[in-house]
Amino acid sequence: MTEQTSGRHRAARLAIATAGAILAFAAATLPARAGTTLDAVKARGKVICAASSGTIGFSAPDDKGYWRGLDVETCRAVAVAVFNDKDKAEFVPLSGQQRIPALQSGEIDILPRTLTWTIQRDGNGINFTTPNYYEFTGFLMPKNLGVTKVQDMKGASVCVQTGSTTEVVVNDVSREHQLGLTTVVFDSVSALRQAFFSGRCDALITDAAALASIRATQAKNPADYVIFPATPYMDALTPAVRHGDDQWMDIVTWSFQALTSAEMFGITQANIDQKLGSGDPRIRRFLGVEPGNGTAIGLDDKFAYNIVKQLGNYGEVFDRNLGDGSPLKIDRGYNRLFRDGGLMFPLAFQ
């Protein structure tokens, strides 16, 4: 009896403590997979992407178990590009801790999971494509504490999730403004949120949109909480791929670019078939009416058409997951197109 129970716990313990790192271990010791990621994905019949364990707006299953969110649709765009079917994508919920080893080891093909593009990560076995969301790191605090900016936070305790860049951010702002912030670090998102809403911490730190998502879905009364930036700096949340497969990097990059370019061209899910008859040579090449763009990166020439036909453009994707069409009602802000004063810069389909 003793042996059995403690054996079961040992298994649970191991699983929790080292899951992510074990992935790296296992994968590092097995022989490298021959062939390209594209071949492997085609042979498998689906793209495998990382997802969060439920950040509404970015990646979370809905009440029917269908995955939704900006990161999810970024992955579906690749599924459309490769298979012309947005449902040929599988989502693996991974903790902040597990996600990078899982990508390095080949458990997943793409890591679109609110991952901040940093030099340390870039230099360590993964490559970043182009940002799909610009964001500041923020603090969520109860309004009744009367704090609206970082400088007022002296002595506060902050709930932090491990596996993110936010632990360092807390240290940085605490040092810069001499705030003496203390942290309580959690591995599980649910424990983190429970600790914050029960009042164990004064503040919760993570990406502002994720905070908005937490506030909208978990707070008893969302109006009682305030979100403000932790630093004056922005983060670029960027889908990443494994280092060493340039073709796959191109495919993921341009599948996302199809979404922003479509918005720039004024192409929507509804009007795309009319746009096929457009006289603008750039639009004609984008939609594959005039060939060459798709085959350049090993895809069907109509891949951009297929993506927009099935998912809409970036604005539509944003709106239904994060913007006015969603419960979060997040302002597009920096995520507007360059032309509209944002940072989203559609690259040229030439």
Partner: protein
């Protein structure tokens, strides 16, 4: 000739062993070569040079001094210190509580044995991680916010942020003083033991000498002691001693869980001693308690110690579950380090080495205890 060789059982046994060894070593070499190649192909950093870089992440509580400017290596030391502290405290408390539970299970009073039985059944049959989350949720939801902290005694505050008590603040060379004082106390204890063995009079003499020496050392190292009372400043209390909710939840969870197992081990050990021993004790006119402590327990220890060793080892490893409730033991610190540096292989190797060392030390100590209590046949 060949047939003779083939028929030789010794040679065949040797050949079998050699083949197995070759396979084993070959597999290791194959795995190592793959690892090296894969790491290079994926351009993943390797090596331990990150250890000297500044850690840059906060650790909420530690037994050794830590600031975010310290190195990653020191962050590991902080994690190891916390793991050792929580393991030692959990093992000691769980053993005492376990002894009580074990005896209560054998008590004649139906109420006492009933309660102990329910305790063991409940605690042993639910997962530890669930219990930890339960205690943590209880601490953080049942207690008031720091502004409305319970204030039963002057200088004592109980809130969601933990238990704050009046503390002492050291000034001067605290570590030097602590080390010197420890050395003096050990020397005095050895001396006192020798004097007692020799049957010398005035057994208090070494104690008085030690007290004088410690005072002299305090004066020499310029150590100062001041009382420090916790007070509410801004969001939290500062000053005084603090018992965090994370530590409390982990401690309560680990101790109760381990005590339930230890209680059963001790009960089993006592039951394993024949009833005749109790009757013999009674016949000699010994009280129940004397019989238990002087006759039954020494014999029961032989049965108790081997499973107890396993239980202690489990407790050390169970402390890694602290990451569910946010207590920064080694596992949680390493998780953060892996995330900051991306060097999972190195960090996990360190983690394994540390737990292996702690585990081996606990085993050696318990084996030594076992050897001392084992039946000596002459």
């Amino acid at each position: 000739m060949l047939a003779a060789l083939w028929d030789s059982p010794r040679l065949r046994a040797w050949a079998g062993q050699a083949l197995l060894l070759l396979l084993f070593v070959g597999t290791l070499v194959w795995l190592a070569a793959n690892t090296v190649e894969n790491l290079a192909v994926r351009s993943i950093r390797v090596g331990f040079d990150f250890l000297a870089r500044p850690a840059n992440f906060p650790i909420s509580e530690s037994v050794v001094p830590y600031s975010t400017m310290d190195s990653f290596a020191w962050a590991y030391v902080v994690g190891i210190g916390n793991t050792l502290m929580i393991s030692a405290m959990a093992i000691l408390s769980a053993t005492l509580l376990g002894l009580f539970v074990g005896l209560a299970r054998r008590a004649k009073h139906p109420m006492l044995s009933g309660v102990a039985g329910v305790f063991v059944t409940t605690v042993r049959n639910t997962p530890l991680i669930v219990q930890l989350l339960f205690w943590y949720a209880l601490v953080t939801t049942a207690l008031p916010a720091p502004r409305n902290a319970l204030h039963p005694l002057p200088g004592v505050y109980l809130s969601q942020r933990g238990l704050y008590l009046p503390g002492i603040e050291w000034s001067g060379n605290g570590w030097g003083f602590a080390a010197g004082a420890a050395a003096i106390l050990v020397a005095a204890a050895v001396l006192a033991r020798r004097r007692r063995r020799q049957g010398r009079t005035a057994p208090a003499l070494p104690a008085i000498g030690a007290a004088a020496a410690v005072l002299a050392l305090a004066w020499a190292t310029g150590i100062g002691v001041a009382a420090s009372l916790p007070e509410l400043r801004g969001f939290n209390f500062s000053g005084g001693m603090r018992l965090s909710p994370e530590f409390a939840a982990l401690m309560v969870g680990l101790v109760l869980y381990t005590a339930a197992f230890i209680g059963e081990i001790i009960r089993g050990g006592i039951d394993a001693v024949g009833r005749g021993q109790w009757e013999a004790g009674r016949a000699l006119g010994l009280s129940e308690r004397q019989t238990l402590m002087r006759i039954v327990m020494p014999q029961a220890l032989r049965v108790i110690i081997p499973p107890l060793t396993t239980q202690y080892l489990s407790t050390v490893k169970n402390s890694t579950l602290a990451l569910a409730v946010g207590f920064p033991e080694l596992g949680l610190v390493i998780g953060t380090v892996i995330n900051q540096t991306g060097q999972a292989l190195e960090s996990i190797a360190i983690l394994l080495a540390v737990y292996l060392t702690i585990g081996a030390a606990v085993s050696l100590l318990m084996n030594w205890c076992n050897a001392r209590t084992a039946l000596v046949t002459r």
